[in-house]
Amino acid sequence: MKGAWLRRQGRRALASEYLVLALSVAYFLVLLPWLPELAHPRNLANLFSRMLPLLLVAMGQTFVLIAGGIDLSVTAVIGLTSVLGASLMTADGGWMAGHAAAVPAGIALMLLTGALLGAANGAAVTGLRMPPFMVTLTSMMFLGGLAVWLTQSQRITGLPPAFLALGGKPACAFGLTLGAALFAHLLLSRSLFGRWLYAIGHNPRVAAISGVPVPTVTLAAYVLSGISGACAAILFTGRLETGSPVHGREILLDVIGATVIGGTSLFGGKGKILWTLYGVLFLTLVDASLNLMFLSDFAIRMVKGALILLAALIDALRHRYETA
């Protein structure tokens, strides 16, 4: 009797949308007595500033994953757009150095580049019917290499203060991310595009026969992912006050890991912006707390790897209970 009740509650918890949020809160509260620094305003601020770019990119990834694809190139997009934007705006020899419109032009260039790179990925996937994994893996290599080659490994400094404030000032960065998150949430849950995206992830053939413009919608998901990379580049570049091809290079696995921890399925058709938010929160929290415990980078990687594996396991369990 008791066992059955426990099992039922266990299943309910597993199936709950808020499981990861609850886990994050529980983790924070349990850790607090041993690690009071975690709640220190400086550390919390640091935690949030690390969360924001990760969240932006993970939201883009959520769109692509729901459509049944994957975008591995997004970290290279961050590096390349950062470099391009900085080259345009920098005071020492930038293409538009000192021009009044340098900042809007720089931002426009970054967003446009992100969108175009996403469109290129999407076109290869939909038009040429290449596997997303292969397309974005190779574009990650190519774009990553291109960004380094363009800068000859030099960091680009001397960026306009207005631009640095946008990504570097916590309030601005927070506002930008919040706006993007709201838009992404509405787009997924309330728009025709969002509903079509889920249908494509479930079964592209059914979607096509039912009148869904599958190639266009799929391409748009990659474009959104590219734009999300460009937005993250604005944050990274602003916070670190330099344009660099290596921005975001380390976060690729965190992006995919956080999205999957949130509950978005790697098989397509399932996922939510809120879930991704919880996933990012959890992963960043774990990362920050382990840092505060002065664990080595390798140990942190091991823990994060184990967590992502656990998330995949829970996804599989959920799937089994839902089908049973």
Binding site: R195, R205, G269
Partner: protein
């Protein structure tokens, strides 16, 4: 078929078999016997208990009460392996072959011939054994061919060869002809006849009543877990079988229908051709008309439907919707012009199985509820529309909109497919095998729905392999063979033989 009763005891005897699932009786005391070298046809609606009975025989389930005797011994298999060891082979509806392995490997998966004293497969012996088995089923293929390269018919024969390999005495065949072409079906029956001549005993389960009547010696009819009819095949005909299966007369199965008065054409094809697929197909479908497309598998029926809906290309000809040409059809364009297409294959092309009932219902009509330019969805009208269409197709009220559509029965799933198209208020509906794999009760409801749609002025193009369905529902029937229309019959001239002649009449391939 009335031969004198053999003196030997029956090979197989079911004695008052009972089985319940969660308190719901599924088999209520079934007693049946089958003689060596005979074929028993087992028919009944989906859910009548056929599969449960066979699963008990095949060792997948244990009965709650009752006994089985096989070859004079009590038969209580605890696993499919034990049943196989006793000499019972089960050829499943979805074949149990590994597509990536070769024919030889599939045939000997449980017992590879080894080199004596070594854990190494004896390749030469494996090939020789495989060749011998394939010869028995008259299959002329190389034993190293991977199964994925075989046609559905060849796979079926390999499956039977597998049964011969374990020296089965009883062969259970569950819907063996579903995915076979006409020629393959013929080959299969030739083989089954020969095996029966050699003393093989068979249980043949199928919804194709004509096949059952033609091939089987005995027929048993199950309904709601009870044996409602059993006897020599000569004592039955299709009408009687159906009325036993549903427990009512056949004329109730089909709604009556009257040809429509002269009404405007809604869909026209003019000399539609595509090399090797269809050849100069012309027809006119009028509003309120139910036009049947008959023909064997591979005659071009489904291909024609796919071309009309823009899923496949066509070489020459013209398509007109409500009198105006439809250029370069694509699903989106067809949809806007008022066409709907209920595909043949609901699992692969009709439904997103993992998605919710609501999401599936609303997929086609979504764009109408998301006004441009922003394309935000207006949720309240959408939900109202979903509720309306649910009740219009009489979807089971116990299923909530948020449940995955795969939790529904086949009949209800098919209703969801139809409903999602009805929401866009089509002027023409193309139905490709709309009642395949759903039980007789759900079929009747479906027929009523089709009939009602036509009565309200929708043009309906109905493709079906079931002659009864076409004869009962259509105002007019076109017969396709090798991609061309060979005959056209108005309702008063409906004649089963004439249709079959037109569909079949052909110089047989050498």
């Amino acid at each position: 078929m009335s031969s004198p009763a053999p003196a030997a005891p029956p090979l197989l005897r079911f004695d008052r078999i009972q089985k319940s699932f969660f308190g719901v009786p599924v088999l209520q005391g079934i007693s049946l016997s089958l003689d060596q070298g005979r074929a028993l046809g087992l028919v009944g609606e989906n859910g009548a208990g056929k599969t449960t009975l066979m699963n008990i025989l095949g060792g997948n389930l244990a009965p709650d009460a009752g006994r089985i005797e096989f070859a004079g011994l009590p038969h209580q298999p605890r696993s499919p392996l034990e049943a196989a060891a006793a000499g019972i082979a089960f050829v499943h509806q979805e074949l149990n072959l590994f597509p990536n392995l070769s024919v030889a490997e599939n045939l000997h998966l449980t017992a590879f011939p080894r080199r004596r004293g070594f854990p190494v497969i004896h390749r030469a012996l494996l090939r020789a054994k495989t060749r011998a088995l394939l010869e028995q089923v008259s299959l002329d293929i190389d034993s190293d061919t991977p199964v994925e390269r075989l046609t559905a018919g060849e796979r079926q024969l390999v499956e039977i060869a597998k049964a011969l390999g374990i020296e089965a005495r009883l062969l259970i065949l569950d819907e063996p002809t579903t995915s076979l072409t006409d020629l393959e079906t013929r080959r299969l029956f030739d083989l089954l006849e020969r095996l029966r001549g050699q003393g093989m005993t068979m249980i043949y389960i199928s919804h194709h009543l004509a096949d059952v009547l033609r091939f089987c010696d005995h027929i048993a009819v199950l309904r709601d877990g009870e044996l409602v009819g059993s006897g020599p095949a000569s004592a039955f005909n299709a009408t009687r079988l159906i009325s036993l299966m549903v427990g009512r007369q056949l004329d109730q199965v089909f709604p009556g229908s009257a040809p429509p008065p002269d009404s405007p054409p809604v869909l026209e094809a003019r000399r539609l051709s595509h090399p090797g697929i269809i050849d100069q197909v012309s027809f006119t479908l009028r509003a309120g008309e139910i036009l049947g497309l008959s023909g064997l598998m591979g005659s071009g029926r489904s291909e024609l439907a796919r071309i009309l809906f823009g899923l496949d290309p066509f070489g020459a000809g013209e398509i007109l919707v409500e009198g105006k040409p439809l250029r370069r059809p694509r699903p989106i364009r067809c949809l806007r012009r008022g066409l709907a297409f209920v595909t043949e294959n609901r699992r692969e092309e009709g439904l997103c199985l993992e998605a919710s009932i609501a999401d599936n219902l609303l997929l086609v009509a979504l764009r109408d509820f998301a006004p441009p330019p922003a394309r935000w969805i207006r949720r309240r009208p959408l939900q109202a529309a979903a509720a309306r269409i649910r009740s219009a197709v009489r979807l089971t009220p116990t299923a909530l909109d948020s449940h995955p559509v795969k939790t529904l029965s086949g009949g209800n799933q098919q209703k969801v497919v139809l409903a999602k198209w009805l929401l866009s208020q089509p002027r023409v509906i193309i139905l490709d095998e709309p009642t395949r794999g759903i039980d007789v009760g759900a079929k009747c409801e479906f027929y009523q729905l089709i009939h009602d749609l036509a009565a309200r002025g929708t043009g309906i193009l109905l493709i079906s392999s079931e002659m009864e369905e076409l004869l009962g529902l259509c105002h007019r029937i076109l017969v396709l063979r090798q991609g061309a229309i060979r005959d056209e019959l108005q309702r008063p001239e409906f004649d089963r033989e004439r249709i079959l002649r037109a569909a079949l009449h052909t110089e047989r391939a050498p």
